[in-house]
């Protein structure tokens, strides 16, 4: 059954790499304000799915509708401009720019034209002030003038989130935001994401089960490219197929 109020409709999305079906008839909906987690064993095709949603990969068949509009053929930058923002599993920030420059660039992409050739961007209050605010929000306020390459790994993950927020997203695609973080950092990130719940719509790909069950309104389980179950955390925990395929395994990454 299709939910007509859904912000994101993924409709029978499929993608194969040669003989490997990385995405197999994936169908799911994400409602506005929902935090929807996508979990699955390694190799289940989670990053491939995110790639297709974000526009980095073209599906072989199927459709993606965002806010009522078919975006299946739309390129990644255009999707970002429509409010579909993604963070990367392997940190992808501007290493030779400061944290503030990083976020300001993300703000710039959604604030007026960038075909301005004269005024210094770093003096542009319309860019710097929102950037500073966002950095403060994610907890990097004191590190604004540090080069991204010199930030600690956990701080770089925070910077990834900050850049997503800076693009004024309607839907956030977060690909393992806690990847490589220690326990304390992870818990801080979970609290931060928890504070975003409701105000933002999120698709969260994660391995950290504590985080998933703490944050998710609904969970979709991806195994070998197929969605085997979608439901509330309680439903998923109780689902026998999911337990055997996934939760029964050691939570070792």
């Amino acid at each position: 059954m299709t939910d007509q109020t859904a912000l994101l409709h993924v409709d029978n999305l499929s993608k194969s790499f040669g003989a490997l079906r990385a995405t197999d008839q994936v169908t799911l909906q994400v409602r506005p304000g929902e935090t929807h987690a996508v979990i699955g064993p390694n190799g289940a095709g989670k990053t491939t799915l995110i790639g297709q949603l974000a526009g980095n990969l073209q599906p072989d068949s199927g459709h993606i509708r965002f806010a009522g509009e078919d975006i299946t053929r739309l390129a990644a930058p255009a999707r970002s401009r429509k409010g579909l923002a993604r963070s990367f599993q392997i940190t992808s920030v501007y290493r030779d720019f400061t944290a503030l420059d990083n976020v300001a660039l993300a703000v710039q992409a959604h604030t007026g034209s960038s075909f301005r050739f004269w005024r210094p961007a770093r003096a542009d209050r319309a860019l710097r002030e929102p950037a500073r605010t966002i950095l403060d929000d994610v907890g990097l306020g004191g590190r604004a003038d540090v080069l991204a390459a010199n930030l600690a790994h956990g701080e770089q993950r925070q910077l990834e989130i900050a850049m997503v927020l800076a693009t004024k997203p309607r839907l956030m695609l977060l690909d393992e935001p806690m990847a490589g973080m220690g326990t304390d950092e992870s818990q801080r990130m979970v609290r931060f994401l928890g504070a975003l719940k409701g105000r933002h719509t999120m698709i969260l790909v994660e391995h950290d089960m504590d985080a998933v069950f703490a944050l998710a309104d609904r969970i979709s389980v991806l195994v070998y490219g197929r969605i085997v179950a979608t439901g509330t955390p309680a439903e998923i925990r109780a689902n026998p197929e999911v337990r055997s395929a996934y939760l029964g395994e050691d939570e070792e990454d």
């Binding site: 974000a54 980095n56 390129a75 990644a76 930058p77 255009a78 970002s80 401009r81 923002a85 993604r86 990367f88 992808s92 920030v93 501007y94 290493r95 030779d96 720019f97 420059d101 660039l105 993300a106 710039q108 992409a109 959604h110 034209s113 960038s114 075909f115 301005r116 050739f117 004269w118 005024r119 210094p120 961007a121 770093r122 542009d124 850049m163 800076a166 693009t167």
Partner: protein
Amino acid sequence: MPAHARTVTIAVVLAALAAVPPIAALLGQPFYLDLFRRIMIFAIAALSLNLILGYGGLVSFGHAAYLGIGGYAVGILAHHGIHDGFLQFGAAIVASAAIALVIGAISIRTSGVYFIMITLAFTQMLFYLGISLEEYGGDDGMRLAGRTQFAGLLDLRDPTPFYYFVLAVLAGFLYLVHRLVNSRFGMVLRATKSNEARTRAIGFSPYLYKLAAFVIAGAMCGVAGALFVNQTAYLTPAFMSWTRSGEIMFMVILGGMATLIGPVLGAAALLLLEDLLQSWTQHWQIILGPILVLVVLFAKRGLAGLLPGGGRE
């Protein structure tokens, strides 16, 4: 503070360049005027390439094309009796920008090795075109029919006014590039070089920014070409030889990519080095070649990297 160090360095270099004509006159060596004017013209060419290569990450191996286009624009107009600088330089800029637009539109759709090979190929095409233009000297080239004149105020036949004109253009372009790379446009360009995937993810489509930079760089190099043909008083397809493209690229690397002063230092270093080697042996390229290899392998940050603050913006 890095910013002040940078400005001071540039001011010092420009002042030093401004001092060359009186010093050369004092020493009775007009050759130095000629040499440093040549250095400044190549500095302009290198500056334009640095915009797309150093800041934009576009490895364009065909940049000498615009040196040739600018030169031919002036040379052809002079041949037909038009010596007015505004018309000539205007034509050089328009022609270079237009051709850069066409070549860029095709090339920038590709990336990596394709881009390098394609830009080289297009420049070679223009080189062969130049050779086939029999009316304008063909393979041998031809003498410039008359130097550029600007509304009776400036005649590029006069060595010293010509020198200061080039210096003024260099200074002006340095300031222009400074504003460009720090503007919103420049930030997108630099971001694309730093991490293209990230740039697309936040919502920029890099193609138009790269193309705009390519056109601006082409136009700037066209101006260098217009100056160069006045410098040599001779027009030849060799302006567009691919070895010339390589030379300009080396000036950018030698001086330090993505720095303002780098191209100036690089042009000076390479041309002075060539001059020195040429005085030792006619086979100077056998020494220059390995030197260039060593620079690439061991001194990537270039001369600007030796300065306080590293010269970077």
